[in-house]
Symmetry: C2
Subunit: 357 residues, 2 copies
């Protein structure tokens, strides 16, 4: 397996490290900053440095473009131009609509986004286990090649990640709620706290654990987040409006001193949190399902998206084309009895024959 | 040293454990739930169980009332009624105005609030190191007895905590910003995420690290937080209004797609966060300051509040009454060269002679 990583900072470097140690991949890397590429090589995050993106991509089975969101359409375009017909190209950008709009028509491109990272940046903080257990969103389209999607899915599970297929539009909407809005609120919190604590020559320690947790992502790298905010501004504005509405409601409840309503509001939040934590979990014995599918573009993407929508994690997958090359079967490994049952129903609902292997 | 703990859940139990293991205290405990008191005894969080609050308080040098905010005025009143004239009584409630308004006139009462806790509750999760390095706010008044305040301060540093004196009004204002508002925002975040993720039979994993951090305190124990919200509703409403204003501003910036303004806003948040983290730190060599003070009620509280306002942490303190019992000196140990210099200036500014020992 030959991997090319374009951009070898924290995420690209961690992909390289994990690919080399966990997937025995040959990793060629390139970075716009030659010093970064050198450090990545010295740290073992890449096995070889390349002169330019095209040289890194040449002969690769899989290309990971780890560039800032603002330059992604161009950077992915370059990678696709240099890649062969059997190469899958993905990215790790935090918003997906723009890059998928630009390249979703190319069967070789699958948008990606790992929910991993750190307060830190830079290849110096790259870790082979950064993606262990992390949700890794993939945004295939109806044009996506099934074989290429399967290769990417397998690669990500080898890194320890849990790939979930999701529509690009939906991805950006979800991320506005679970990532971009939390970042906005963290910024608001530190601005208010700084205003409160620093007044009149006072310097009050604000180091309670809940405050530190709530503001860990405040003022995250502007180089990265400026583009994320801009590229998802419309979805984020909707979420901010919703947050303002919710805050106005609880403000009225507090102003009225309505203890019962406050208790009910807080209980509902506890319930919501429990539900969200559970939806992030999967487990139990792994079942293998076999689905018979036509050998058409987009079939694997449809399957993956359908299960992703239902929160069913595909632990592993494999494609078996039939001899006639017009049909084939997809093997899916699903953890958990309930999840496997749900997956079976969903696949049957798509009109494909499916059975437990 | 004899300690009484009234209410032996997570916080009270951890006070007991830490007092027994780190301050060699005899700890008597009482809890409204006899089963909780039994478990605290079995876990070693208290050395003896008491029949009722008065029995626990009898003969104690120090009483910690760890009751929910809603019943604090009554519970502290009971403790003060049972306590001797030389006993210091404190509490651990998350808001301070109500209980200080009720008992701030008693020289034996000092309001307290450790910035520690956990997602968990219950004596089963009590830990002797829960307060290690934690800010512990104290709200002395001009009536507070100096000897009693010193005893409490020493006790808390023995637990590993860092006591900061602060005015009760200011405490509640600060906590609205650094604790109560973060809790409100966490509740808003999980409510929105649940609404977004759960629609149309979808179950999308929201388990990114930034979301988990931002919502760790969502739906915190209603039994505790209902009272906190109610007792600090006016301050919190002000903070919510401010948050809504800030959110409206960033919303407009996003809607306008103004990249420069977004970058400036995010950079400012990074700067605020850095400043807040630094204000929570102290360090360097410890200096001893000696201040000559009149032997009057409230003098020690004034000193502590003045240094607390400036963010100067008093690592340790000791009182030395003079033979005439009309004057005396206070020794203060301050970590850090700058902090010690600032403390010296501030004490001199109060009109007291002060020198490095």
């Amino acid at each position: 397996m030959r991997l090319a990583v374009l951009g070898v900072g924290l995420i690209g470097g961690s992909v390289g490290l994990a690919a080399r140690t966990r997937a025995q991949a040959d990793v060629a890397g390139w970075d716009p900053d030659p010093g970064v590429a050198e450090r990545a090589l010295a740290l073992g995050a890449i096995g070889a440095g390349a002169e330019d993106p095209a040289a890194a991509v040449a002969g690769a089975d899989l290309v990971v473009v780890a560039a800032p969101v603002g330059v992604l359409p161009e950077a992915v375009g370059e990678a696709l131009a240099a890649a062969g017909p059997e190469t899958v190209v993905t990215d790790v950008g935090s918003t997906k609509r723009t890059v998928v709009a630009a390249h979703g028509g190319d069967p070789r491109f699958v948008g990606g986004h790992p929910l991993a990272g750190a307060e830190t940046a830079g290849v110096e903080h790259a870790r082979a286990d950064l993606f262990e257990g992390a949700t890794w969103y993939l945004t295939p389209t109806e044009r996506t090649g099934g074989v290429l999607y399967e290769r990417l899915h397998r690669f990500l599970t080898a890194l320890g990640a849990r790939p979930y297929a999701i529509d690009a539009e939906r991805h950006d909407d979800v991320l506005a709620a679970v990532s971009h809005l939390p970042h906005v609120l963290a910024n608001v919190l530190v601005a208010q706290a700084a205003g409160t604590l620093a007044r009149e020559d006072e310097r009050i320690p604000a180091s309670g654990p809940s405050f530190r947790d709530a503001t860990r992502v405040a003022g995250a790298s502007t180089a990265i987040w400026r583009d994320i905010y801009l590229s998802n501004a419309d979805a984020l504005v909707g979420r901010i409006d919703e947050a303002i509405m919710r805050l106005s409601e609880v403000r009225e409840t507090l102003a009225a001193g309505d203890g019962e309503a406050i208790a009910a509001w807080n209980d509902a939040a506890a319930e919501d949190r429990r539900g969200l934590l559970e939806s992030g979990l999967a487990g139990g014995p792994v079942h293998e399902l076999r689905a018979s599918v036509p050998n058409q573009p987009g079939v694997v993407a449809r399957l993956a998206l359908e299960l992703g929508r239902a929160g069913v994690n595909i632990t592993d997958m494999a494609l078996y084309p039939a001899a006639d090359n017009r049909t084939g079967s997809v093997a899916l490994w699903i953890a958990g009895d309930d999840e496997a049952g749900r997956a079976q129903e969903l696949i049957a609902g798509l009109g494909f024959a499916v059975a437990r292997a």
